[in-house]
Amino acid sequence: MGDKHILEIQDLHVYFRVYEGISYVIDGVSLYVGKGERVGLVGETGCGKTVTVKAVMGILKIPPATISSGEVYVDGRDILTMSPKELLQIKGTEISMIFQDPMSALNPVFTIGEQFYDVIRFSQQRFNDRENISRYRIRKKMITALEEVMLPDPVRIANSYPLELSGGMRQRVLIAMALVNNPKLLIADEPGTALDVTIQAQILDLMSKLVENKGISVLLITHNLGVIRETTERVYIMYGGQVVETAPTNILFDNPKHPYTQGLLSSVPRLTGSEFAEGIPGTIPDYIKAPSGCRFHPRCNYAMPICAQKKPPLTMIESGHYVACHFYAKPGGQDE
């Protein structure tokens, strides 16, 4: 199962035991990333993007979290049933992750070179046990990796501490580290959001180019819709721990169907200066008392009685474009 896909999540449910009760954060998320595909996962703060990804990387803290049901396949293997040792073999070599904040993702007391050494060494120990490559070869590999991300003077960078580098340079170092072991899947959690637009644009250009050359699949998690449009082929929109809409990126952005996606897109200020909507009424749900049925229904202008009773299934409305909304499931209820 899932041979065509590098990552496949099926009906994932995650809850957290907190002081006030049980917080049902992830409510049946299914998604996949095809081989060589670049996929976006969009949602606002608190929609469960990061929890989903942490579950995939096996870095969700259990407890308080509990994965109550669901399956996560990486290259055909179910990682939720794996032993920690097996999981560790996959992390850092088959799946890599780039974190949001380049300031805190690097250890401040080691030089870039020392941290790089660990990353490369780690993968070596794992695979070709015999081939214990020399320090010199590791260093050479590192310099090549740093050159690939267009860092000037890689030797100097390797001998620097993170605080000697600018935010943009640190982000480049992290990309180099994530890609040095040629992973099959790269998970990028808000890359570049801590940086200026000019630097962010440079970083995204670079990442797209490298990923394309190496044929790496990408899952990009962000709340920045512009970044999604410019770097991904297909996109999932999350709200309240559920996937509410998915489609090829251009189709979804030009023709959003779910009321939440429509509200989200119309809130974005545009370079052309045309007017934007006054946001979406209400606030994100409290997961302890999560709304029944469709979790968006208390904020939705089109809510019907059924929305509070039954969770809408993802329904295909055109090729590749799926929406979880009762409004479209009903025959005859096409557009607004």
Binding site: T45, T198, A201, V227, R229, E230, L265, T272, E278
Partner: protein
């Protein structure tokens, strides 16, 4: 040009860099290095730039959180930089500021009521407790919060609600000018949209003037009437917003606009094509000679490294600081 509310003349703010023996001054951070602009009555004026360009320092100097190193700030006919502490009261009542991160700009140990009470007490706006409570209730209603929030603490509020409280605090003294320093950059887009609409409504209702500081160009395009582009402590281009986006002249402005990741197809027309977008902002301790943008600029030649260009009016209201614009005008789209 009609009624000018605030006029900044050659404003300079340096921060000392200390070190060495007895922590002597060994250098200075040229955060703001001679900028001039006006803000008219009930105008929203924008200030964009990358982090490190000095835009927040301008905001903080305008409200006199920082004391300017040089230059003048004329407000309602008085030079604020010359006022003594005792006379500053009038200015502090007229000019307010809203900060970027509402999590850190509100005291977590004080209730909303206690936070909003302070300006009323300091500026002697209300005589007694019941009157203050009535005013605070009105203020909360103004920012579309229920008066029941009065007794809550910031930790019980969402990011958007906290920013509303921060706006209410600024409004408490009936200012005529508010500096908004990235008021929505910590918020989600759908929440940002609500706050922006609120700010606009308040601006219309009370004829406020804003200096809107942001790095988000799309947002600036929508909210500001006039926009200034800052780089390393200086203004490099200033124009009516519509004109600035339709016809960006400075290479830096073009780089900024072309870097914005766009969401909608129609935005593509606004983006300058084939704009190089290399390099990072240099340190303001040791800025490049001449035009500070020259190390990143594709048009740069010898004169750019030697001489700082003047801010020249190339079209009515459109000022640019670039050696190449007057001779080598990029094609107008």
């Amino acid at each position: 040009m009609n009624n000018t509310l605030l006029s900044v003349e050659n404003l300079v703010k340096y921060f000392p860099v200390r070190g060495g023996f007895l922590r002597r001054q060994i250098g200075k951070v040229r955060a703001v290095d001679g900028i001039s602009f006006n803000v008219e009555e009930s105008e929203i004026c924008g200030l964009v730039g990358e982090s490190g360009s000095g835009k927040s320092t301008v905001g903080k100097t305008l409200v006199r959180i920082y004391k300017p190193t040089g230059g003048a700030i004329w407000f309602k006919g008085r030079d604020v930089t010359k006022l003594t502490k005792e006379n500053l009261g009038f200015f502090k009542k007229e000019v307010q500021m809203v900060f970027q991160d509402p999590k850190s700009s509100l005291n977590p140990r004080r209730s909303i009521k206690s936070t909003l009470e302070d300006p009323l007490i300091i500026h002697r706006i209300a005589q007694n407790r019941s009157e203050r409570e009535r005013i605070i209730g009105n203020l909360l209603q103004m920012v579309e919060l229920s008066p029941t929030y009065m007794d809550k603490y910031p930790s019980a509020l969402s990011g958007g609600q906290r920013q509303r409280v921060a706006i209410a605090r600024a409004l408490a003294v009936h200012p005529s000018f508010i500096v908004l320093d990235e008021p929505t950059s910590a918020l989600d887009v759908s929440v940002q949209a609500k706050i922006i609409h609120l700010l606009r409504e308040l601006q219309k209702e009370f004829h406020l003037s804003y200096l809107f500081i942001s790095h988000d160009l799309s947002l600036m395009r929508t909210i500001a009437k006039r926009t200034a582009v800052m780089y390393l402590g200086r203004i490099y281009e200033i124009a009516p917003t519509q004109e600035l986006f339709a016809n960006p002249l400075h290479p830096y402005t073009r780089t900024l606009i072309s870097s914005v990741p766009i969401v909608f197809k129609e935005e593509q027309q606004v983006k300058p094509m084939n704009q190089s977008r290399v390099g990072e902002i240099p340190s303001p301790v040791n800025p490049p000679s001449g035009c500070a943008f020259h190390p990143r600029c594709s048009l740069a030649d010898e004169i750019c490294t030697q001489k700082l260009p003047e801010l020249v009016e190339v079209m009515p209201g459109h000022f640019v600081r670039c050696h190449h614009v007057s001779f080598n005008m990029p094609s107008v789209k």
